[in-house]
């Protein structure tokens, strides 16, 4: 499993309802950001991509998806540079979104089990 729910479990102190609530918010956010990031990529708006990815960064930290942080930081940095290649950013985003979609698939199963 990509996500590590140790922090959330400790934060919710074993309250399964709350844990599921946070996981659901994360799933919704990823699904929404997936659409918005792809749209921003089509429009070649690097600044917008940067802001969407930034929102995902803190949520990933809470969901224990720490292994995605270096990639998110790389994308944020590249989006902040005027002369960065959009193709390279698109490739990084594709990896990021694939990982996030895999994570929400697994997290969806966690909610169903409970």
């Amino acid at each position: 499993m990509l996500a590590n729910l140790d922090f959330l479990k400790s934060f919710t102190k074993g309250d399964v309802e709350k844990l599921n609530k946070y996981i659901s918010i994360f799933i919704d956010t990823v699904q929404q950001k997936d659409i918005e990031i792809k749209k921003a990529l089509e429009d070649k708006k690097k600044e917008v991509i940067k802001i969407h990815v930034h929102t995902l960064k803190s949520q990933c930290r809470y969901m224990g998806l720490n292994n995605l942080e270096p990639l998110i930081l790389q994308i944020e940095e590249a989006c902040g540079l005027e002369d960065s290649s959009l193709d390279a950013i698109a490739e990084q985003l594709s990896t990021l979104l694939a990982n996030l979609n895999q994570a929400i698939l697994e997290l969806g199963e966690v909610i169903q089990k409970k």
């Binding site: 922090f7 934060f11 946070y22 918010i25 960064k57 949520q59």
Partner: protein, 172 residues
């Protein structure tokens, strides 16, 4: 912190998860009135509620015309310089933190697993500070009352002495 005195706190963040986690955390651990806002504009429009403290996201909106965290911080400080504002940010950059502190932020906390413990510490320090300020106000008020009482007693004494002297003269 606010276990004895109910305080008002504003939480301003456009991230639903952060907003929900902060709301749950604060309402579980403190006796406080929490007002949540997704934009800086909404929060500014409600400053008449006199928040004791504010937890404010640094990156507030995708919309370039909307207020960002520093804009909101400046407005809050103009409206009431003594309001304590904690900046919450996904940016782990010293330059950003310094910018916020320069504009009067009480603390700068990076959104991470340790953020809630740091918020708890900051709220405890703010709570102690507010209690000290309130105590100081009470002492100042007590001091003023004591001075006023001394002045009134002195005036009454003078009047009584003068009246006594006038009466003595009359009878003499």
């Amino acid at each position: 912190m606010a276990n004895k005195t109910e305080r008002t706190i504003f939480v301003i963040d456009d991230d639903s998860m952060q907003l929900q986690m902060l709301n749950d955390y604060l309402s579980q651990n403190y006796v406080i009135k929490i007002h949540q806002f997704k934009t800086g504009e909404e929060a500014i429009a409600n400053l008449h509620l006199n928040p004791d403290m504010v937890i404010l996201d640094y990156h507030l909106s995708l919309d370039n015309s909307a207020m960002n965290g520093v804009d909101v911080l400046k407005q809050i400080k103009i409206a009431n310089p003594s309001t304590n504002v904690i900046i919450l940010s996904g940016q782990d950059k010293i330059s950003v933190a310094v910018e916020c502190m320069k504009h009067g932020a009480y603390d700068y906390i990076v959104k991470s697993e340790s953020a809630f413990a740091r918020i708890e510490n900051a709220l405890a320090r703010i709570g102690e500070h507010l209690s000290t300020v309130n105590q100081l106000k009470i002492y100042k008020l007590g001091f003023r009352i004591a001075i006023a009482a001394i002045v009134i007693i002195s005036i009454i004494s003078i009047i009584l002495v003068k009246a006594g002297m006038a009466s003595a003269k009359y009878w003499a």
